[in-house]
């Protein structure tokens, strides 16, 4: 360490500061990147948007339960609509009971529109958007919840 190596003190400090800021920024970025890494970009689960067959598969006035989709599909007088069978309390499958639905786990009851009638369920059963695909298939989109006024005319 000879004399000429010694930088003036302010320069030295600013160098150190630059280094600290750069390393700090990169480290912060690194942590953010690590968090981003944890977020999966693709899911190995059934698609959230799927077709359930042509409207003709659902006879008028009937209710069809799709067990692997956990979904009730109605073909009512005004059109099609789909109600989730997942109880809003703790996720059990609700069953058709009386005019509406009942949950076997903790006794929640829902009316025919999925509104809570009694029991611990905090909110109504989810309604999902239905649409018609270009190939004339009914398409359910689980990412799109709709109000109980929803009907699809097909």
């Amino acid at each position: 360490m000879t004399k000429k190596d010694v930088l003036p003190d302010p320069v030295r400090r600013s160098m150190f500061a630059i280094g600290c800021i750069a390393v700090g920024a990169a480290t912060a970025g690194f942590l953010a990147a690590t968090f981003r890494f944890l977020v999966p970009n693709v899911l190995y689960e059934p698609s959230r948007r799927f077709d359930i067959g042509p409207p003709s598969d659902f006879p008028p006035g009937a209710v069809t339960f799709l067990p692997d989709r956990r979904l009730y599909v109605f073909n009512g007088p005004d059109g099609f609509y789909a109600i989730s069978s997942i109880c809003t309390h703790l996720g059990c499958n609700v069953k058709r009971g009386g005019p509406g639905f009942e949950c076997p786990c903790h006794g929640s009851r829902f009316d025919e529109n999925g509104q809570v009638a009694q029991g611990p369920a905090p909110k109504a059963l989810a309604w999902y958007a239905l649409s018609l695909s270009p190939h004339a298939q009914l398409v359910v989109d689980l990412d799109q919840q709709v109000s109980p006024e929803f009907r699809l005319r097909a």
Binding site: R12, M15, I21, A22, A26, G29, S131, P134, H135
Partner: protein, 674 residues
């Protein structure tokens, strides 16, 4: 301590420079990593798509459309595939993008209706690396370490064949043609080929070939079968002249079946004019071609005079089943003089000018030559196609082709051919030029055109060692051999009905009429009449049913059997009490629908479909109605269009057609046509 210690105990200033430099470098590198991730190809592609979408769709549709952000994948656990093609091919299933530029264009055709992506994905048909998310690694073009880059559309049908194991998959003409060529060439005689199980290919049996052929012909045939007969199914075995000599000797010494004694035949009285007349009457050309015209079910007769001996030909025509038990040729009922005339006609008419006199049969005695010939016969797998009682069929001589499309392309030989190492190219070269792959091959050269060889290769390239779930596989049901017994069975054997007709899918495909429901289709009396003297039902069809010279009793036996056994219950119950109004309406419909375009009635009309003047005496009404309603069900690919007739319309047409050609007596009996 003081200043000295202070200096000594703080970091040397130069390190601060290094620290700042390294810190900045780290920041730069890390930004590079971020950029690397953020500038992924699929992100820019999706951005382009969103711009395109606003021009293609109106705001309402845009609001309805699913968002396109992020990676999209089709996960097919059944097939073990993950296809992310839709990450970039965003308009693939949306008709609005039919005219969009690549990669956003909608899939052409109606393939996605029949093969929805959520069940079939993309790579089962197209190949390539479905998991990848940029153009290069997807293997749109061949890539290192991607075993199956995307197939060009020209050969994509090979992938149809992975699931569609039926012989003739719809909309895959190259695959169908390839499979047809495999069947026609009898590849499965030497190779075990998955999908062709249970099929047999037989050349003529050779037990009495010593009596059958002329030595000179045999020599030229063995040298190059297609040189003698371009349509020959036998390939060129590239035999040396020594091999040909010994093989010829071996074959000519095969004389198991002595020909019928033809010494009583007075050849001087042979009337070739009568022979020519009989040749036409028997409708030989339905199965045999002469001068390039005629059927392909039997051997071509153009140069028959150069090939066979007179005595053998006479005996064979008279009783083909005695001379060659497994021949598809039927046995006519003709007298000796008639056969003499036909034989003389054939030998005179269909021989080259330079055919010499017939040499007497020679028995080869040189044991060494015979042994050598026998060795060649066995070594080159001749018994796979030609039966010879003296030699046991050693099974398939060629290697099994199971999983051939999954063989390691780099382990396969390509000889001196400079080609890309793919199984496709290997199979193609092997089929086209089996002797150029740098290994001595016992496989004959079939002299396929390159296009045909490519189609065969394409069909073979669909033979993968896959473990597809059964729900994806469309199999061809193996036909159950049909061998009736009794008197009827004897007649079926004698007249070789199954050489041309099928029962339950078993039999030849020369005739367009399967026999499964023939008793419900045709009236019994008509059947008898037709068997005794088969007329032309379809004017335009060249292959006609032969005139068997059948005995009346035989015809009755067959017709009775047909009418009792070969019935379609769905067609049998039909109310045949037609009203005059129905018949009138039917006649009207006949004109309206344009039936006359294809069917002849009287002297008017086309001759694509059967002539209809005698329908009332020929067809049974239940069948007419059933056929008119859904022709494709009974005969896929028929030229009879499905008019979507209502039940009443079909009935009206039936009423009208039933009224045609019926005898006045039958008309007087009322509506019942039976």
């Amino acid at each position: 301590m003081g200043v000295a210690v202070e200096v000594r105990n703080t970091a040397p200033p130069r390190l601060h420079l290094v620290f700042a430099g390294l810190g900045l470098a780290f920041l730069v590198i890390f930004s590079w990593v971020l950029f690397h991730e953020g500038a992924a190809e699929w992100r820019t592609t999706q951005a382009r798509f969103r711009r395109l979408e606003t021009t293609v769709k109106n705001p309402h549709q845009l609001a309805q459309a699913a968002g396109v952000g992020g990676l999209r994948q089709i996960w097919l656990p059944d097939l073990g595939r993950v296809d992310r093609c839709e990450t970039c091919h965003l308009g693939i299933d949306d008709p609005a993008f039919a005219r969009a530029p690549a990669p956003f264009a909608a899939h052409p055709g109606t393939w996605l209706s029949t093969h929805p992506t959520d069940r079939f994905g993309c790579t089962p048909c197209h190949d390539g690396q479905g998991q990848a998310t940029d153009y290069a690694t997807v293997a749109h073009q061949p890539q290192p370490f991607v075993t199956r880059p995307m197939r060009p559309l020209e050969t994509i049908e090979a992938n149809c064949g992975v699931c569609h194991r039926a012989l003739d998959p719809p909309d895959a003409p190259r695959l169908a043609e390839g499979r047809r060529l495999i069947v026609e060439s009898g590849c499965f005689s030497c190779h075990e080929i998955p999908g062709f199980e249970g099929m047999t290919f037989r050349g003529p049996s050779l037990d009495s070939i010593g009596y059958k052929v002329r030595p000179a012909w045999l020599t030229s045939w063995l040298k190059d079968p297609k040189g003698y007969l371009p349509q020959s199914k036998m390939g060129n075995f590239r035999l040396s002249s020594d091999e040909i000599g010994s093989l010829q000797g071996f074959l000519l010494s095969q004389r198991a079946q002595v020909p019928l004694d033809s010494t009583g035949v007075d050849w001087k009285k042979a009337d070739t004019a009568n022979g020519r007349a009989l040749f036409g009457e028997l409708r030989c050309v339905s199965c045999h071609a002469v001068n390039g015209r005629g059927g392909t079910a039997g051997p071509e007769l153009t140069r028959i005079g150069d090939k066979v001996r007179r005595d053998w030909l006479f005996s064979y025509l008279k009783d083909p089943h005695r001379v060659q038990a497994d021949t598809p040729m039927l046995q006519y009922r003709l007298s000796d003089p008639q056969w003499r005339d036909v034989t003389a006609f054939l030998l005179e008419q269909y021989s080259s000018a330079d055919t010499g006199a017939e040499p007497p049969p020679v028995t080869y005695q040189d044991a060494r030559v015979l042994a050598a010939g026998r060795a060649v016969f066995e070594r080159r797998g001749c018994p796979s196609c030609h039966r010879l009682a003296a030699i046991k069929d050693a099974g398939r001589i060629g290697p099994s082709l199971a999983g051939i499309a999954d063989r390691d392309p780099d382990e396969l030989p390509y000889g001196t051919n400079v080609v890309r190492h793919t199984t496709d190219n290997y199979i193609f070269l092997k089929v086209l030029l089996p002797d150029t792959l740098g290994q001595t091959s016992t496989m004959p050269t079939f002299a396929f055109t390159p296009a045909d060889a490519a189609k065969i290769a394409l069909a073979l390239a669909s033979i993968r060692k896959t473990d597809l779930p059964a729900s994806y596989v469309l199999r061809r049901p193996a036909p159950v051999p049909y061998r009736p017994g009794g008197k009827f069975g004897e007649l079926v054997a004698r007249y070789r009905c199954l050489s041309c007709h099928t029962v339950g899918g078993f039999g030849g495909d020369l005739s367009t009429v399967p026999l499964d429901r023939i008793g419900s289709q045709l009236q019994r009396d008509y059947l008898v009449k037709y068997l005794l003297n088969p007329g032309a039902v379809r004017v335009s069809v060249e292959a006609r049913m032969p005139v068997f010279h059948m005995l009346p009793d035989e015809a009755k036996t067959i017709a009775d059997y047909f009418s009792m056994v070969f019935l379609d219950d769905g067609v049998e119950q039909y109310d045949t009490r037609f009203t005059a109004e129905e018949a009138r309406r039917g006649q009207e419909l006949y004109g309206q629908l344009g039936c006359q375009a294809c069917h002849q009635l009287g002297t008017k009309g086309g001759y694509v479909g059967p002539e209809l003047s005698e329908t009332g005496a020929r067809l049974r009404p239940g069948w007419i109605a059933a056929w008119l309603s859904k022709p494709q069900i009974y005969k896929p690919g028929t030229l009879q269009p499905d008019y979507g007739l209502s039940g009443a319309d079909a009935r009206a047409l039936t009423a009208y057609l039933t009224s045609l050609g019926r005898s006045p007596a039958a008309k007087a009996r009322g509506g019942n046509a039976q």
